[in-house]
């Protein structure tokens, strides 16, 4: 089975369900800090792709792949602590 490349955790710069805006004016190949809308209840969540461990495998997770489901996103300071 071909292994999918797993990159680092990155906000896509867009909210879930929308393609990142293309900046046609910019000549830079990639912006370092992608501006993300401020997080706020009642607004779309910042979308991201990130590496993850799930069910015995390493995989790349994209938040917008969970559209249609309820998602609880839970941050915590570190493994081997309580949650």
């Amino acid at each position: 089975m071909p292994e999918k490349a797993i990159g680092c955790a990155r906000p896509t710069g867009s909210v879930v369900g929308e393609e990142p805006a293309k900046d046609t004016e910019s000549t830079e190949p990639e912006r370092k800090e992608v501006p993300v809308n401020k997080i706020m209840v009642g607004r779309k969540a910042p979308d991201f792709t990130a590496p993850a461990y799930h069910a015995g495998e390493f995989k790349q997770v994209k938040l917008s792949d969970s559209l249609g489901k309820w998602v609880v996103l839970c941050f915590y300071p570190g493994d081997f602590t309580f949650v």
Binding site: I6, C8, A9, I39, V61, W70, V72, L73, F75, P77
Partner: protein
Amino acid sequence: MSVSVDTQFVHKMWNETELSKMVDGGVPFPMIADAAGHLGKAYGVYDDEAGVDVRGRFIIDPDGMVQAMEVLTPPVGRKVEESLRQIKAFQHVRKTSGAEVTPSGWEPGKKILKPGPDLVGHVWEVWKPGDE
């Protein structure tokens, strides 16, 4: 999904050495690695002095809308039942397209409110703190 600045490899070890002993079959959801804190920054929960993501919890609905967020400093843990209660409440509101809303302390089967002009000033007639 859970997120910390640990790598996916550490997540695997934590799941194998500890979490799988607390939960049959181990953690059922993706454990996300946010090594550089980019996700934490996007969600406003990255502490750049400590270099970790603090205890932020976000409930995101099927449309990708953030419905709830809760952020705690590291020493105090969360209550899972409260997150589940909120999800059930948001699901109820969603099912009724907002025609029914849930007062404080609501749980499935308890009193709901129907917002509208008739309710203004009359909440006390249909709901009291003891109804929680």
